[in-house]
Every structure is written in C-alpha cells, then in structure tokens.
C-alpha cells in the first residue's frame, strides 16, 4: 500500500503497509511504532493541555497501554478514515478528555474554566508541533552521523576527520555564531594533501549528513519517494518560519 500523499505538515506520513504489519505483528514492532510517535504526541498533548504537562509521560504511557497496545486498536486506523496521525491525535485528545472526566469526580485535575481555555490556536499548535518534529529529526540525524563518523571501520581511518570538519566548518558557525576556521588552519589540523582532498572531506560530510537525514525520515515516512518529499517539506517549513523570524 502506498504512503499517503504529501501534505504541508511534516508530521510523519503514514506508511500504511507498515501499519498493517504493525497491527498484526508482535509487541516489538508495536513498541517501535509507539516510540516513533512518542515525542510528537507528547508535544501535541502538552500543547493541547498545557496544565497537564507534568503528567504528559504518564498519560502517554496509559494511552499506549490502553489504546495502542490493545489488540485491534491499530486496525481502527483505517486509511479510509483519514490520516493515521490525525486519528492518533484525535484518539489521544479523546483519551485525555475521558481521563479528565473520570478523574473529575474524585479530584478534578483542572478547572472547567481552565479546560475551556486550554486548546491553543490550531496554527500555533501545528507549527509548534512541526518545529519540535523538525528538531527531533535533525538532532537524531546529527547524533547518528557523529556516532557513525567516530566509530569508523578499519578501512576508514580518516572518517573521524569528516565529523570534525563538519562540526568546525558548519555546525559551530551555524549554531554558535562562531567564525569557521580558515582554510589554512584546516590543512594543518587535518593533514589535508590538496584542495581536492579538503573538498572531498567536506563533501563526504555533507553526503553522510544527507544519508542519515534520509534514513531517519524514511523510518517513519516509509519509502524513498515519501522520504524525499518529507525532506523537502521540512526544508520549506523551516525556511518559511525563518523568513518570519
């Protein structure tokens, strides 16, 4: 089954084939699916019910056990009923509201007035969610890239240099506003033999970054084409936000 079409949101597009398998399969696969959606759901929960942020993990755990791990629940996420992510979000929202209604009799966790004020503006909520998602994807990409470069195979003795060059030339200037080291300094530091050697090291870094980015996204988007669309959506979304800031 094909992944659902692209949307403006960068929330993971549903891989329905994976979902079908997940619905039928073992606990390990379900666990992976839950962990995959855990962080976005937590962000969604906290943004939708700000007063429950201290209980977010517990509520999500309950949601996972009561809903996601319940046999047959995932089958309800029928493609014909809409996007899986919307289904998941609606389910979580209803689950939390049920939880609040049940708890209200004994010890109301929030006042009615507070609840009425709870929902954030849909656009803000969506952007906050998407930005958090983008951060998660990029952080995971860089974490994997660093681990990959710092644990090279015996046939890749210079792979450690790739991460260092990437960090010095790109990451630190972007995130810390530091000046990138001059070309001459790179020659000495990394023993670069020629400009081609230097360029290839930096190009390799970019390729490794891109490969890990694709892999991280493919794990939830499913197929190559969906992952490529997702990367573009990520770029467009961040560029749009950057223009406004």
């Amino acid at each position: 089954m094909a992944a659902e079409p692209s949307t403006s949101s960068i929330f993971p597009r549903t891989d329905w084939a994976e979902l079908d398998r997940a619905a039928d399969a073992d606990a390990a696969r379900l666990d992976r699916l839950i962990r995959l959606y855990w962080q976005p759901l937590k962000i969604f929960l906290m943004a939708t019910f700000p007063s429950l942020k201290n209980q977010a993990d517990t509520l999500l755990q309950d949601f996972a056990e009561d809903k996601l791990l319940k046999e047959g629940w995932l089958r309800k996420a029928d493609q014909n009923r809409g996007r899986f992510r919307d289904f998941l979000k609606t389910s979580l929202r209803n689950f939390v509201l049920d939880h609040l209604n049940r708890a209200e009799v004994k010890n109301p966790p929030v006042s009615l007035e507070e609840l009425e004020q709870e929902p954030a503006q849909p656009d803000d909520l969506s952007e906050a969610f998407d930005l958090a998602w983008a951060r998660t994807v990029l952080a995971e990409t860089l974490r994997r890239m660093e681990a990959d470069c710092k644990n090279p195979g015996e046939d890749q003795p210079r792979r450690g240099h790739i991460w260092e060059m990437f960090r010095l030339r790109l990451l630190e200037p972007v995130f810390n506003d530091t000046a990138p080291p001059a070309y001459d300094q790179l020659i000495d530091r990394f023993g670069l033999k020629s400009p081609t050697d230097a360029s290839n090291t930096l190009l390799s870094a970019k390729r490794i970054f891109k490969a890990h980015l694709s892999k991280v996204i493919k794990e939830y988007a499913g197929q190559d084409a969906a992952a490529a669309i997702e990367i573009q959506a990520l770029e467009d979304f961040l560029a749009r936000l950057a223009k406004r800031s």
Binding site: R135, A139, K193, D197, S199, A242
Partner: protein, 179 residues
C-alpha cells in the same frame, strides 16, 4: 575545547538556524568562501601532483611517477611542473584533463575558479615552455580564458607572468600539435 553537543544545539535553536543547517548541509551549497581562494590556490600549487592526478586516474599513477622523475626532473608539485623549463607534455595534458573534469563535474568540490586556473595554466605552460598547444579551444576563447585567469587577484606573480607570456603567444599564430 568543550565538547559540542549537537542535540542541545538543535533543540535550543530557532528555525532560521535549522534552515541554515539544512541549506548549507546540502551538497549544492558552496564549500568554500571566495576569500579563501588565495589559500586554496596556494595549497593547490604546492600539492603533490600524484595525490590529485593519481586519484583522478589511478591507472596513470605509475606512468606519472615515471614521468615526474624522469631525466632528473624532481617534479613534485603543480607549481614545480608549471615553472619547469621543460615540463613533460603528458603531465600538462593530464592536469588539463583533471581540471576540465572538475570544471564539468557538478559534484566536484574543487572551486571552479581553481579548476579553471589549473586548466589555463597547464595550457599556458605548454605554450610557453614547449611551444606546443594542448588545447582545442578557439583562439578567442583561449585568449579570453588566459586573460580571465591573469585577472584573478589571488594568483601568484610567477603564474601571472607565465599566463601573460602565453597570452602574447596565443595572440600570434599558434603552432604545434593539437590534442
């Protein structure tokens, strides 16, 4: 230097920095700044030829070594070859091909300006040192290329003189084999 925590950096950064990371992390983004071209050119000229040319065409590595060491020529760097009174023409041709391949390759990391300078300087060295043409470029294009290379601010004086001499020759009647 304290460890760089990429995850912390990402989570505390605003969208504009994340957008910059994606844009500059992309392969299409320029690798080097224009103000680094002088250092890159110096590095290129002092780099051992075997490093670049041997990688460019590994089958030629042995031939390159033989050529560069033949007849007592201790040609180790690009600069030494260009400024040798009698450089082996095969080496100049190989450099020209290496430079051309980099100019034509969309994924080449070598700045176009450096690749183009190598290209025209190899042609200039053949013209001036050997009185040979190793280029099929029309005269006008060759002269334009030589002139453009001479005008690069980061070029060293020796190379500029070589190019000026070649331009003078190219402005007259060219002779010699064309390959």
């Amino acid at each position: 230097m304290p460890d760089f925590d990429s995850s912390a950096a990402v989570f505390k950064s605003r969208a504009n920095k994340l957008a910059t990371l994606l844009a500059t992390g992309g392969e299409r983004a320029r690798l080097w700044r224009p103000d680094e071209l002088a250092a890159i050119f110096r590095h290129q000229m002092s780099a051992p030829m075997l490093v670049d040319l041997g990688t460019f065409d590994p089958r030629n590595a042995t031939r390159l070594r033989t050529l560069s060491e033949a007849q007592g020529l201790l040609l180790k760097s690009f600069s030494e070859l260009f400024h040798h009174p009698a450089p082996p023409i095969e080496l100049l041709e190989l450099i020209k091909d290496f430079a051309k391949a980099n100019m034509d390759h969309p994924e080449s990391g070598l700045p176009d300006e450096i690749a183009a300078t190598l290209y025209y300087t190899s042609i200039a060295a053949a013209l001036v040192r050997l009185d040979e043409s190793i280029s099929r470029l029309p005269d006008a294009d060759l002269q334009r290329g030589l002139r453009w290379t001479m005008e690069q601010a980061w070029l060293d004086e020796k190379s500029r003189e070589l190019l000026a001499e070649a331009l003078e020759k190219a402005s007259g009647t060219r002779k010699g084999a064309v390959s």
